[in-house]
């Protein structure tokens, strides 16, 4: 039962991420030098979420699995039967490694610090769960990215975010001053790269599976940012001259808005009414 809850926790979390974030997660794991960031189960889960979203969005698959299998049997199986691979490998390459349980995840080199969250390999055992893992402090290289679990008392959102962006000041009219009741900050994470400074905070409901993320990006260049959505319309909610783009993606609702070089996002499986209330609580210019 505990293991099932653990998988469900992970699935809920992964489902809250956009395709770009999920892709970044996979690729950071792929490029990691020290070992694995994601377990095979994590990778499978992430890919499953991506493929399910594409199926729901009606994106046609480029694969004909039947045709590919036939091609494999005709062209590659004969190689396999002679123990020939297409590429050379170091010896004893195909012994799957036993994953060591790591309480604290350490990263030495992150090539592209575009990932905002990592799940330590092996820490999801039957005796721990996602929340316990998130309670560990991970001391990543400060110049790249970080995450932590904190039990600090409630502070305003501007105070929550201002350290990450210092010395750049966060405008007072950027972030909500009201958050829905019964939600607690559970995880925060972020990264800094040449083109962007980013911070994200996850809030979870104490007594239900509801959650939402608030993220802020400060762009040091002019990137093109792509947001994932389902077939529903994008609604523009205007307040004090700022456009708040509201869209849905399966069971999550997202609001995105831009002020100067800051771009903010609230995303989660909360009620639309609560999302609008948060937007309405943003102070006027």
């Amino acid at each position: 039962m505990k293991k099932q809850n653990l998988s469900k926790d992970k699935h809920t979390y992964f489902s809250s991420l956009s395709e770009q974030e999920l892709k970044n997660l996979l690729m950071t794991d792929f490029q990691s030098i020290d070992g694995e960031i994601l377990t095979a189960e994590d990778i499978d889960m992430v890919l499953g979420i991506i493929l399910e979203r594409e199926k729901i969005a009606g994106i046609p698959t480029e694969n004909n699995v039947e045709k590919s299998w036939k091609f494999f049997v005709e062209n590659y199986l004969p190689l396999a039967e002679q123990d020939i691979t297409l590429y050379d490998y170091p010896t004893n390459s195909f012994q799957p490694k036993r994953k060591e349980k790591k309480k604290i995840f350490r990263v030495k080199n992150i090539a592209a610090a575009s990932l905002f969250f990592c799940i330590a390999l092996g820490a999801f055992s039957t005796t721990t769960n996602a929340k316990e893992l998130f309670a560990h402090m991970a001391n990543w290289t400060k110049d790249t990215f970080w995450f932590s679990h904190s039990e600090e008392p409630d502070v305003s959102l501007i105070t929550e975010f201002e350290t990450a962006f210092s010395p750049t000041e966060i405008p007072e009219y950027l972030l909500p001053t009201w958050l829905p009741d019964h939600f607690t900050k559970t995880i925060e994470g972020g990264y800094e790269q040449k083109t962007e400074i980013f911070k994200k905070i996850l809030y979870e409901n104490d007594s239900s599976p509801e959650f939402f993320n608030i993220s802020v990006s400060y762009f040091l260049s002019n990137p093109t940012v792509i947001y994932e959505k389902d077939a529903g319309d994008v609604v523009i909610y205007q307040k004090d001259g700022i456009d708040y783009y509201i869209m849905s993606n399966l069971n999550t609702i997202t609001a995105i808005w831009k002020v100067d070089s800051f771009e903010c996002q609230i995303s989660g499986n909360i009620e639309r009414e609560d999302l609008i209330k948060m937007i309405d609580s943003i102070p006027s210019l």
């Binding site: 892709k23 996979l26 690729m27 794991d29 792929f30 694995e36 377990t39 095979a40 189960e41 990778i43 499978d44 890919l47 499953g48 991506i50 493929l51 698959t61 480029e62 694969n63 699995v65 590919s68 299998w69 091609f71 494999f72 062209n75 590659y76 199986l77 004969p78 190689l79 396999a80 039967e81 123990d83 020939i84 691979t85 297409l86 590429y87 050379d88 490998y89 390459s93 195909f94 012994q95 799957p96």
Partner: protein
């Protein structure tokens, strides 16, 4: 390989193909290489079918193997391209600033390998062709293509001493 094992691999292939292809497509940005990576994973699965079938989690085994295969393909291709490009300069050139005319002026590859081998090496290493694409271009089987590529690389290594 017996039919039971082949059926086992077949079921796993159909179940995981889209997953593995997606992963490889993210890694390489190219559908041909992504397809090749998936097929290479299943070649490994067939070679190590006893380990795979004995695994408590064959799907997890395949996913882990695929990640390893993709990393190996990436490293292998990077190594080969750097080897070739290092010929054009004392220090290895940045592949992103490589220009073909500059490469050809500096060296006549046909001093070291036949023109057919030059064609194969250029297509596979510099233009990033998969084994399947190159086989189709040469109108030969993947097996024959792999052998020809291997021979071309060996000849090149043997005849050119940087």
């Amino acid at each position: 390989m017996d039919q039971i094992t082949l059926d086992f691999i077949d079921r796993l292939y159909r179940k995981k193909y889209d997953f593995l292809f997606k992963y490889a497509k993210y890694a390489f940005g190219d559908s041909s290489i992504a397809e090749e990576a998936v097929h290479e994973t299943f070649i490994v699965a067939c070679i190590c079918h006893e380990k795979l079938q004995a695994s408590l989690n064959p799907e997890g085994w395949i996913v882990n193997t695929h990640k390893f295969v993709c990393r190996n393909i990436q490293k292998s291709r990077k190594r080969e391209i750097q080897k070739i490009l290092s010929l054009t300069n004392e220090n290895a050139l940045n592949p992103y600033t490589y220009t073909e005319p500059a490469f050809e002026k500096k060296f006549d590859l046909e001093d070291f390998v036949s023109s057919e081998d030059v064609f194969i090496l250029r297509k596979f290493i510099l233009e990033g062709y998969s084994h399947k694409d190159l086989a189709q271009e040469l109108n030969i089987s993947v097996d024959a293509c792999k052998k020809r590529l291997q021979r071309a690389k060996e000849k090149f290594r043997k005849n050119f001493q940087p």
